[in-house]
Amino acid sequence: MLYVYALTDRNVESTETIDCGGIFAVIREVKRAPQISESAMRRHDREVRRIAAGAGAILPMRFGSVAADGTALARMVGERRAELSLGLARVAGCVQMTLRVFGSRVASTRRSARVMEVKGGAEYLARRRAALAREASAAEIAPVLEAVAPLIRGQIVERHEVLGLVASVYHLVKGERVGAYDAAFGGAAPAIAPFRVAKSGPWPPYAFAAEVFS
């Protein structure tokens, strides 16, 4: 059985790799699939980071991804070559920065309530379209998003319905621009009160890999 760490655009030194026709799967032979544990997840992340350092582009696989053998793996990659190639091109040279937006659900609810104050059907639909667009964004941290906008290559926003956690924002950033991203974030973060934002990264582009087939 093969444990699959990542797909890359090139053969990475000091790794066991299967060439799937120009897309390279970095693997390790295992007897059984791994069980979830902190040490196993840290090992996976460490290995993905090591692979990322030697690759021009990397799509990390989700923890626990296994294939029966090399033939099965090559078939899987071959059947999805177009999407995977586009995904690799998108993340080339980039890392991921993650923002967690925290705040009061009451504040978010008030914003939604204002959206629904409408007079007719057409206005309702227009407001609904605007609301849907807003749900795909993170307006609560607009000053931060504006500050980092010139530095990002991609953005994914996930809204959360959990008390306290408003949204997660994932940014794709060229590796050499992480310092500038940090500085821009630091300058704008105080302006988003009463919301708060926590930044982590750089990460391998986990969220953007997850998006390849969406």
């Binding site: 699939a33 979830i36 997840m41 989700r62 991804s65 296994v66 099965a72 925290f102 969220a207």
Partner: protein, 53 residues
């Protein structure tokens, strides 16, 4: 919950909930992933208290 726990929760979100996920020839070999993630968002909220320090 200390800062190390918050860091672990970030790791869990990225490693377990993100990354390429393909059905078919390549599959998740672990059990209970969804169950783990269901609890994650709530735990991230707790992590916020740590990050304020």
């Amino acid at each position: 919950l200390d800062r190390a726990d918050a860091s672990l929760l970030e790791l869990v979100d990225h490693v377990l909930n993100k990354g390429v996920l393909i059905d078919g020839e390549v599959m998740l070999g672990v059990a209970g992933v969804d169950l783990v993630y269901l609890r994650l968002s709530a735990l991230l909220c707790a992590a916020d208290r740590v990050m304020e320090r």
